[in-house]
């Protein structure tokens, strides 16, 4: 047997689908990547959360639950939770409602791939670029959108204030994501048989009734997956906040603590204050929370059951 190693197997004992001997060269590169950049770092991330690791000394001692205790008692952590929750709520609500409207409108009017391409474009532009463009558009002195808003009686300084920063960032990211989200929903709409609408129309159903009794129930599995993806992405907002609030003499997460979302706080603890243990503890909490959110959402939205069956 050993003599035939690396020889192409011939004859009756041919195993067409290989076993490990055929599989390992295919798997090796990706497995090394997975091991070094996903698996080991995950174990290490959990380990670090139980230490007081310091990046400069590159050393740390086991401190047990201390980082978690401090997290629970840390008002800045709870502030970050609150700010993030506020952002996620605003972002998801506006983005999802607009995306559904766009998807339904496209379903009615056009399957043009030019329209679909234009709608997708913002999603492909770097966050940093999008953030900078909007900082300029909303600039209190010269920004053209800020000027437009002043027609509606909104002071042009409004967007720079602590009350507006999270709604503004939610608005920017809604602009970036709504088209892409609409395309996902649009793809889901294509799976609903048109005959259902025809039958309903013959029975004299109104637009609203068709929406409520056909579109929404049959779209639910797609909508559930879209929501899981967008909610999880939303909790991880970072680039936009970092660039929009950190540039031009500002401090990331500012003004004050008003936009210090959880990612920005984790980043600040690690690289601004060199408290890698505390930073890791919050990252672990975020991981657990996001897993819970995913599970919970899929459960209540019953993503894997379609009413079409």
């Amino acid at each position: 047997m050993a003599a035939t190693t690396s020889e192409r197997p011939k004859g009756a004992k041919l195993n067409l689908y290989g076993g490990w001997r055929a599989a390992w060269p295919f798997l090796l590169p990706s497995f090394l990547g997975f091991l070094f950049f996903f698996l080991i770092p995950s174990v290490r991330g959990i380990y670090l959360s139980f230490t007081d690791w310091n990046l400069i000394a590159n050393d740390g001692d086991w401190v047990g639950m201390e980082n978690y205790d401090r997290m629970v008692d840390d008002p800045l952590f709870w502030n970050a939770v609150k700010v993030t929750a506020y952002y996620v709520t605003l972002n998801i609500v506006t983005q999802t409602i607009l995306a559904i409207m766009i998807a339904v409108a496209m379903d009615r009017l056009t399957k043009s791939s030019v329209v679909r391409s234009v709608i997708m474009l913002p999603y492909l532009i770097p966050n940093v670029v999008v953030a900078l463009i909007f900082v300029w558009l909303l600039n209190s002195n010269l920004g053209i959108i800020a000027d437009l808003f002043s027609f509606f009686g909104i002071d042009s300084n409004y967007f720079a204030g602590p009350d507006a920063v999270i709604p503004t960032i939610a608005g920017i990211n809604t602009w970036r994501h709504m088209g892409y989200t609409a395309l996902l929903i649009f793809a889901g709409l294509q799976t609903i048989p048109k005959s259902l609408y025809e039958a309903a129309a013959l029975d004299g159903a109104s637009e609203l009734q068709m929406m409520r009794n056909i579109t929404v129930p049959l779209l639910r599995p797609v909508l559930a997956l879209v929501l899981v993806i967008t909610v999880i992405g939303s909790f991880q907002v970072f680039d936009t906040v970092q660039v929009a609030t950190g540039g031009f003499g500002g401090r990331p997460g500012g003004p004050g603590d008003s936009s210090r979302v959880i990612y920005v706080y984790i980043y600040e603890l690690a690289f601004g204050r060199n408290e890698l243990g505390r930073s890791s503890a919050i990252a672990v909490a975020l991981l657990v929370f996001l897993m819970f959110v995913t599970f919970f959402q899929l459960k209540i939205l019953r993503a894997n059951e379609s009413d079409l069956a």
Binding site: P29, P41, N58, D59, V128, S206, G250
Partner: protein, 339 residues
Amino acid sequence: MSTALAGMAGGRADSTGARFGRGTAWLLLALLIVATIFPFYWTLRTGLVTNASLFESNTDKSVIERILPDDPTTVNFRRVLGQATDEEILEATGRTNSASFDYLTAMKNSVIIATFIAVGQVFFSALAAYAFARLRFPGRDKLFFLYLTGMMIPPIFVLIPNLLLILGDFWVFDANGHEWLDWVPGYDASSRTFLLGRLPGVIAPFFFMTPFAVFFLRQFFLGINRSLEEAALIDGASHFRIFRSVILPIARPQMITLGVLTYITAWNEFLWPLVVTQQFPEKQPLTVALGVFTTQQPGTQPDWSGLMSGTLLAALPVIVIFMIFGKRLVDSIQFSGIK
């Protein structure tokens, strides 16, 4: 009546309500397209005028009158590309040394990073996807599931551990002194700057795989007809041969789509390259260079026209790629459902 009916995608019955709905829907789409294009147009328009002109038109003109640029000039774009003379810079900005970042270097870094990531990730993920879709070996489904759990991991969770890895700390619970690794090029156990501030450090975590890429390609490979490869196997072809001559040609369009998506994702990446190259301006990709440059801008009267030219130029490669592959990317949404 019949034309109106045929015109409706859903084949809904004609009624004033439906017509009203269509009008509203067209209006919504038109607004959406304007809202999508306008910020890009305004960035271009800002880049085409001097800072002084921005101030003048702001005080003298209404919003509508400002739509077109006064005295358009390319000086800002040339400035960003390092092609403007000192006099031109003084004239455009009113400053002798306008702070800038080295756009061409950042561009080069971005191209190198995104190219390596796209090619490596797609190729190695395709190899893995072939094994998961086409081979049989014990533990296959468990390993695939393990890969998929990687999709659940938020990038910030592995950020610090990956940084430690890039600094040359290869084992989980251990930190200093890996003299036994001195043979690795660029490794220096005492200084701990192994891949920090170097492009391979930015590339490495995304080079070998992402769970999504493996998943995306496996789904596609599963759908390829087996009869061709079975004939090849019986003729004694190796699995590599089949991968190269049967699977790759069939899967080419999907691999290109995935490659383009990966390229754009790598181009847009901010957090990881920020951590790796923050102190190394000459190694920063465009996103990081632009972000860091912004933090150095003053709060009052920043160089908007220069900044917007640089911003637009940073997005330009993505826009060009999009113009070439846009339809393919849009169609891939129907295919993969979710990215």
